[in-house]
Every structure is written in C-alpha cells, then in structure tokens.
Symmetry: C3
C-alpha cells in the first residue's frame, strides 16, 4: 500500500482529530529542555505510539557539550503588597524565563525592570525567553501588562530547582523490512506555543501512528527531543545507528500560515532532497538552501555526522511575528494545514519507500495502450493525469530514469506515475527494478 | 556550399512558390492513416522529389502494434427526405469521422445526435475527429449547421470500405558522402487541414528538392508517413538503418502563427538539440523539453529506439484554437512563415553538416587581422558581425570549442562564425578539424 | 595581515590622496603606444613603486605582430593666415590623431575636412582617434569648434616623428613567499583621458605601493603597457614566467560611474573568477562573460596563452558616452569610486592569498560556542555577521568547502568568514588546510 494513500478519506478525518486533540492536551504542559514537563509530554504521546523514554544524567559529556542540570518549576510570581499576583506562572508558562534560577525577594518596579521582558511592537503579546546556559532569571509579560504596573514594591518568587537530574527524550522505533532507517525528529522543549512546536509533535505522532499500522521497507525512528542538546545526546549515544540512516526529516512549524517549505540537507542533493523538492513543489511550496542555524537539522548535518536530514516547515521560524510569543497559540494553527503537512510527509515517504527504475519489457517503441484498455474511460482532470502518467512511465522506461525522475520531468505526482508504472508492469510492458 | 544559403534570394522565391503550390494541390485530397488519399499525396510529392512508395499489408505485426485494415471512402452524407444532402462529404473531408465503418440507415435527428460532433465554443468551425482503433462512425459539422437541422428523419449513408489492404508511406533517400543519416519525418494522415500538416509536407518536400541539388556529408532520409503507425512501421522494418541515424527532425505546423519552437529529443542534449537551440534562439524562437506525446518524435525517441530526433513547429498542436478544425485552412498559414521555417531547417542542417573544431595554427596570442586586410572595409551591422565573428573564431581556436560552441558563446549566427573560420583558415591562422 | 584591511581608515585616506595626486600629474602627458609620453608616465609611477622600464626596438617580431616605429610629437596645429592657431595640440593631446604622419601644407577647409573628426551628437566634446597601423593623419575637435571655422585657407602642421625607436613598458615585481605569480596589468597608451586609463594606472600603482609594504604569499607582477602590442610583447618575451602565473587581473575604467564589473576569464571558472564574483557580488557589482575584445585580457586569454586573467572595471568601455572623448576628464572620475575599486582588488587578493580549507578538529556536531565566549557580546549588524560567520565556518568544516565556498554559500564577506575560521582554529575547533 502506498503511504501516500494513508490519509485519504476517513483516515484524514481521524488524523485531524488525533492531531488537534493531542495539541489541546499538550498545550498546558510546561516543557523546557529538561524536567517533568517533557516527561508528561512523552507520556501523553506514548498513549498513541510506542515511545521509549530515555533519561540521560546531568553532567554527561555529550560531544562538545555537557547535559545541563535538570530544571523544574513549582511556582513563580510577582505579587503586590496585598498578595495579589500581578504576574503569575499559572496564567501562562511563558511568564517565567526558561531555566530561571530560584529567587525570593522584594523589589521595586525599577529594580525589577532588568528582569522583565516585553514586546513593545506587539503590546498585547508575551514573549518567550530562555537562559539555558547562563544562570539568570526573569519574567515575560505584555507591554500593556507592564504599563499597568505601579512602582511597587513587589514580592518576587521564582520557586524552581536546577539540580542534577536527567535529560529526557523519547524514541519510537517502527521496524521495517530492512534495517536501513528513516529518521523523523521533532523538538519537545518549547512550552505553551502551538506552531512551535505542538504541530511538530502532533504531525510526527500521527505519522508514527499511521506507519505503525502498515508494513514498510524502511525502519522508522521517531525522535522527540529537547532542541540542540537533545539531538546531540541522541547522536552521541547511538553511533551504531548512524550508518543505517538513509533519510531524515525534522518536523516543526507545520500548522501556521504559508506554503510548505523544504530546507535542504547540507549536502543539498540527497535522495530526500530530490523527493521533498518534488513533493513540496507539487504543493506550490518552497525549497530553500541549507543554513547552519534553525532546529536540530543543524546537528544532524554538522560535519562529522553529515546525515541526510532536511527540514519541513511552513513559514520558517523568525519570519512570522507570532514566532516565540504568546500569539503562537492554538488559534494560530490550522487543522487543514496540519493534515496537508501530514499528507506531504506521507508522500515524501512514499517516494523514499517506493521509488524504482522502470525498464521496458516489450518491443521497442510506444506500447499500444488502447487495445489493452489502459486508457481511462472517463474524462476530466484525473483521467488526463492518468493518461499522461502512463505515457511518461512507458516513455521513460529506459533504465536510466527512476519513477521520481519521471514524475519530476512530467510534473506529475509521484503516486500517479507509480500507479501507472505498476499498471504497465501488470500488463507485462515494463518491470520495476530497485534503485542502484 | 552552405545549406544555409540555399534559400537566399531567388531560391527563396522559388521555394515559396513550390510550397504554396504544393499545398494548394494537396488540400483537397482525402488523407487518412491508410487509403488512396495517401497514395495520391505521395504521387504528387513524387513529382518534385524521388519518393519511393512502400505498401505494408494490413495485419502485419509491427512491434507492439498491428497494421490496421485499409480504409477508403466513396461517399458519405446525411440527406433529408427530399434527397438534399444536409451534410455532404464532398463539401469537406472533415465532415466524416475518420475510419468510420459503413452505415446505411434512416434516423431521426435525436437518433443521429450521438454520431454528430460540433464545437459549440466555435460555432462556425467543423471539428476533425477519427476513430482509428475502435470501430464507429460519425459526422462532424459546425454548431450553426447542426442548429439549422430539423428533427428529421434523415437518410444516412457512410459508403466506406475497411478491408485488408495496405499501409502506405513514402521515403526519399538522398545519398551523401557518408552513410550516416539525417532523418526528416512528417505525417501525411490529416485531411484538408493546412498547418497540420500540409505545411510539414511542403517544407519537407522543398527541403528535399534543395538538398537533391547539392552535395552533402550526410545521407538524408525524408519520411512521409501516417502518424504513429507509420513511423512504428518504418522503425520496425528498418533495423539496419537505425544505427546510422545521427540526427533527425520531425516537421509539422510550420505555417501558422507564433515563433519557431524546438521540442528537444528525449535525451535533451543531443547534437541536434544544441544546433536547433542556437538556430531557433537566433530567430527569437522557443525551446521546450521533451514530452512523450505529440507527433512521431515520440516513436523515434521511445525506449529501445532512442533516436536523436527533435521536432520543429511553430505554436504546437493544441495550443491554438484552430488546431484540428476547419479553421486550419490555407488562409491560416503564411508563406513568409513557411520560407522562414525552411531557412531555419537549412541553417540547422548547415550546423550538422559543417560544425568543426577550429585550432590555432600561428603563434599564440591574437593574430593581427589588420595587416591581412581581414577587417571588412565598410561599416554597418553586417561588417560589425563579421569583425565579431573573426575575433570569436580566432579567440576560441583552442581545440576545445566547436564552431557551434563559438557561435553560442558569441550569440552570432553559425554561418557567420563558419565564414570567419574559413577565412582565417585560408589565411593560415587556424585549421578546422572534424568533431571528435 | 589581511590585504582586505590595507585600505581601512587612514590608509584609505592616504591611498585616495595618492591616486588623485598621481592622476593630476599624469593627465597632461602625451601617451601613445610608443614614445616619450610613456617614458614620462613610467618615470612618474616609479617615484611611488619600483618600476623597471623595458625598451623593445621597433621592428622586433612579436608573435604574429611587429613592434611599430616609435612615434613622438613636437607640435601640431591648424592656423589661419594671421598665424592664429585655430586647432592647437597644446590645448589638448586629443586634437591630434594618434600616430599621425608629418604634414606641412596649406589647405582650404574643404580640403582639410576629410582629416577632421568631430562628434556631432556631442557638439562640445573632442573625440579620441588613432591610426596606429595605417599611415595617416588628422585632427580631432568639437563640432562647435568646427562650425566656427571659416573656409580658410589654413596652414597645417603635424610635426611628428615616426622612426625606428622603441616600445616602452613598465614592470614592477614584488616578490612573495612563493614564486607563483599574480599578474596585474593596466594600459598606459591613452593620452589625457581620466577614466580610460589614468584610473587603471592610479589603482594599480596604489595597489603595488600597499603590497610592497606587506608580506604576501604570491609574487605580484604589475605591468604598465601600451594596449595590445604591449601585452603581446611582454607575453612573447617572458615564456618562462607564464607557467607561474596563477591569477591575473586587468585594471581599467575604475573611477567613472556604475558598479564594479568583473569580466570573466575565457575559461570562465578559474579561481580568480570565483573569488572576483564573490567580491564584486558582495558590492552589488556585475559579472559578465568573456568576449574576445576589450583590453589586454584578450591577449592574456588568447589560445596558446590562456592565462587566468579577468578584468575589473566599472561601466565597460563603449557603454558610456564619454568613452574616448574629451569628456572623460578628471571631473568624470570619483575618488570614492577609486578607493572602493582599490578595496575590492585588495579583497580579491585577500581571497587568493588566504583561501584555505577548514577541517573540524573537535568531536562531531556543532561546537558549543557559548561556553568559549565566542559569541560577540554586543548586538547590531556586525555582531550578527560575526555569529553567522562562526556558524557557517564551523558548520562547513568538513574538508570539502574552502573558506570562499563557505562565504559564497553564506553570502558573507570572505574576510568575515576567514576571521571566524581563524578564531575557531585558535580555539582548537578546526584547522585550516591548504587548498588542494
């Protein structure tokens, strides 16, 4: 069965419900790069797909890095003298700067100001800030919120722990017919925000759920990791897996506005790039060159690893104003966009799973499709696509084009070309050989 | 002599007269993929050039196909009860659907309707329809014509024969100094219409007539064939010729509007492609990628043959509304366009015949053209082109550029660069070596 | 030290003064392809940099050419019967056609007309004309000037000598650590005009002066030559040097309007082309393909030499109306443009001198820059460029990218990428290897 057909019809409706449901459950959890929020998140995902949870002790040397102390939050607020919480963690996880050290103090507004972060150009939005590798603390709030605060003094509490513990990540391996792997990676460290990155978690989980119900050539490995240190930790700990990784994709930012965007691998012309360029191009998406910043693709592609891992998003981070603010909430993402992104990933995997080389079996020259009843009987766009796919598949069955090559030349969906090739093969007109 | 010069001056006027005269004589003949109309057509062409006519029996297995029964028409009409022919084959060959089976019946208009074809969006035009490989019958007429018909009943006669006979095609071989061949192919199966394909027949015939009067390196083989089954039949029957085919071009649709359009070979970078891209580019024409539909280029390029045959047209079939209708008549084509197309084909052949590699003979560095009187004395565009051609030919005579390479880099006509190279060779400044 | 930093700050101010001062001193000298004007010019340049002056006798066979007689001018005028000089060489060297033969005659205006050259479309400007290889004589003047002349008769004097002598050119060799050479060539034959080519002389001289004060890998060879015959003479006379020429650039037309324009070598993809395309692209300049006309690049690139010599100009010759007229005077060129051109050449040399291949030393994956304090502390554009340069240099340190490759992918200045790579190397994160 073609993975591209996994989200047709009722499956699409189910996947839509799964993804929006999962996001709704996860949005309130407090995720950072370590801590209980990550564990809760992985526990929830594990209800849908078989996720193994790994715990790596703080202080573990990881390549050029070290696993940081585990961070957990009990409470955090700025309260006025009446005890009223003017800023309250429980209103939004974004209010506390990630990895804030513990604080208990009384401060005037002026003393507090260096620890307060706002977005003056978007006065209603709360920014998202972290301080992972430099000790510090702070609160984030809207500019309007800050403007309404009087001079104080205020009671300030940051009741966090930053102690030896663990870095937690999830891994879901779906064995295929072959040991060669496709890596699907998404980050779980961002709290509260929806497009970045509940959408990545939702699409990756829905994908794993669909793949778990099918047989497939490749072994799929879904990684749910805190950004940077998580992927580095996985890379450092799995040297025996790396040579088996044939293709990979980082999923994030898939529910916001804008067309699909493929960010190429560092190499730029890997099989996954060629496949993704076609799939994304067929959906009027964009293809961009690699750059050494962004999400975990920068680790997978770093010199010394150089894994063929690209990235699929919609409008990339930093290019939409809601990025890393409270405005990136559930209302910012569209279920239609998520379903389309899932369908695009499945199409991409369909190419990776099923690309093959059609080779003519019959006499040279164009086969007579008509006498075999291969021309679709009814008209319309789909019938025309079928005819073109048949002509292209037969017309390039020279052993020098793969089905993806044919689809690219033809400007047709890979699935249409593959269907045509299978039909021609069933009629003895060509055979499908493995890619070299 | 350069073939590019064959249509200069008086030769152009003669070719124009030959082509328009030939089209006028051929337009009334009833051509289909088999039958007497094809024989008449080839007999007329044979007055201008030595065409051998081949007859291949119906039922002959041809690769994946079979030569169909021969079809001939004696009469066809729809007449009212007074005997008045409301639709009459003799008014236009287009009125009868090609390969219609015999019919003699009385039918009301409602019974007749499924067999009547019109073009509602062009109510004055008669469409062109065929039913080669599925038995059936029908009449084509303008929408206005149909609207004027009463409910009937009508006497319907289709007096055709569809019987064992022959597929007929023409072949004109013009031996060259070498056995290597250039294929020039055009289809003869379409009745009545001018751009598709009296223009292809006219240009190919004029070309053969001009080539017959010159010596040339390549052997030229002009094929006048019914579409698809004709070229397949020739391909199947001439396996010993195929390895000698070095270049080829399908000619059709050369008199209608629009710039010249080169459709690349399936391979896309054959010598004929590079030559045609330059020639067509110099005339502000277009170059398009291969697709496995169109005319007989799809057979020559099919896997297993893969001959280097491109296609020259103006606006391709299906992209102008007059295509396959009665509006594609003699008034739709322009003699100027035909002459320009003929000139372009001759330029293309000039490149194929005469491309060579200039190699410096004298000392390194730029030769002193002035002291040899090589700079043209008079000014103007042509003189400037000559100077540039001399500089480019001398300046790229490094053994790594062919004359076509130089012309492409320089953006100059091939003939100008070749003239310059010959002049430099005559002055001992370079020698012209055969292409590797 | 990076050559790119040679014109920062005070050095730029000094170079600006040097260049404008040199042009002011040279503008009145009467340069042609031979003669005392060239000697005076080289003597003046020799005050700034160690120029060796070479004298090659007239009649010397030079490849396909011959060194012409030496031409010198004592006086030239057209005077009316009162002795008043209506046209006077001393008013502008442009008034006399270069290489005019001696004349002493009395002529009416009508007799004189065939020897008078004007620019009717620019009635105030005096054209520049020469007759190097065809004996002749003439005067150039503005159209207004001509219109004011009466019918004469006039006394005409051309007091020139055209006798066996020498072709004179200058050569300044600045030895580097290696014998491999970079050629910098500029022409000295044009009288009076500023953009063509006092600017080339000024930039080349300033460049040599700056390079003389530094150590450098390559040996630099500055050539100050009469156009065409000068470079051919040098090429013919230095066969042992040619194999050592690794890169080269012709400098001319650098002070007029328009962005910087790199004209590629004939080969088109030499190291100097890749470097120049990046440097010029970073300055919003243009890159053009090679053509076998222009300045001495056509000799260096001619078949048999094929040296990797491109050309740097602003708006190329023939594309601005002031070209080869009296309007190309000192007011036409801008000191800012000269300084920018000098900076661009130094950046180009910086790439040629310092390109290297960064190779990761540490563990695979992205290094942790933060804990090493490598992230610049302050914000702003320059800090962002530094961060990006660090990420790119570290992220492409795979042994398959040179620093120039990285700069091109990153769209960053080469110097920024090199600085980042050096910083990473100092931190033990990568090593810089020589280019293969």
């Amino acid at each position: 069965m073609s993975t591209a057909e996994l989200v047709d019809g009722t499956a699409a409706a189910a996947a839509r419900e799964d993804m929006t449901g999962l996001m709704t459950e996860l949005v309130g959890m407090y995720r950072s790069i370590t801590g209980d929020g990550v564990r809760e998140t992985l526990a929830r995902v594990a209800k849908d797909v078989p996720v193994a949870v790994h715990e790596v002790p703080s202080g573990t040397a990881v390549l050029d890095w070290t696993v940081p102390p585990e961070w957990n939050v009990r409470d955090a607020y700025v309260a006025d003298r009446t005890g009223h919480r003017v800023i309250d963690l429980h209103a939004s996880p974004l209010h506390l700067v990630g990895y804030s050290v513990p604080v208990r103090a009384t401060m005037t507004l002026d003393e507090l100001r260096p620890h307060l972060h706002t977005l003056p150009e978007h006065p209603e939005w709360v920014p998202y800030r972290t301080s992972y590798y430099t000790p510090g603390w702070g609160f984030c709030l809207s500019q309007r919120h800050l403007d309404a605060m009087d001079d104080g003094p205020y009671d300030v509490l940051v009741d966090t722990t930053l102690e030896p513990g663990f870095l937690t990540y999830g891994e879901c391996v779906l064995p295929g017919e072959q040991p060669e792997e496709v890596l699907v990676s998404t980050h779980v460290c961002h709290p509260a925000m929806a497009n970045d990155n509940l959408t990545g978690i939702a699409v990756a989980t829905a994908l794993a759920r669909l793949l778990a119900g099918t047989t497939h050539r490749y072994t799929y490995r879904l990684l749910l990791l805190p950004g940077t240190i998580g992927s580095l930790t996985w890379l450092a700990g799995n040297p025996e897996v790396l040579p088996r990784v044939r293709h990979g994709v980082v999923l994030t930012g898939l529910g916001g506005p804008g067309p699909l965007v493929w960010k190429r691998t560092r190499h730029g012309r890997r099989a996954v790039d060629r496949a993704a360029e076609h799939v994304v191009g067929q959906r009027d998406g964009e293809v961009r060159d690699y750059s050494p910043w962004g999400y975990d693709e920068r680790q997978y592609n770093a010199p010394g690893f150089d894994l063929p891992v690209g990235r699929l998003t919609r409008t990339p981070h930093g290019e939409y104003p809601e990025y890393h603010t409270s405005a990136d909430d559930l209302s910012f993402v569209s279920a239609d966009n998520l379903v389309e992104a899932l369908a695009a990933v499945l199409e991409l995997l369909d190419v990776l799973e099923h690309d093959a080389v059609p080779v003519r079996c019959g006499p040279p020259g164009e086969p007579q499709l008509g006498r075999r009843g291969l021309y679709p009987g009814i008209g319309g766009h789909s019938a025309q696509e079928q005819v073109l796919a048949l002509l292209w598949a037969a017309g390039c069955a020279d052993g020098e084009h793969s089905l993806l090559d044919v689809a690219r030349r033809a400007g047709l969906p890979f699935a249409a070309v593959r269907r045509a090739a299978v039909l021609l093969a069933e009629n003895g007109l060509l055979e499908l050989r493995d890619l070299a």
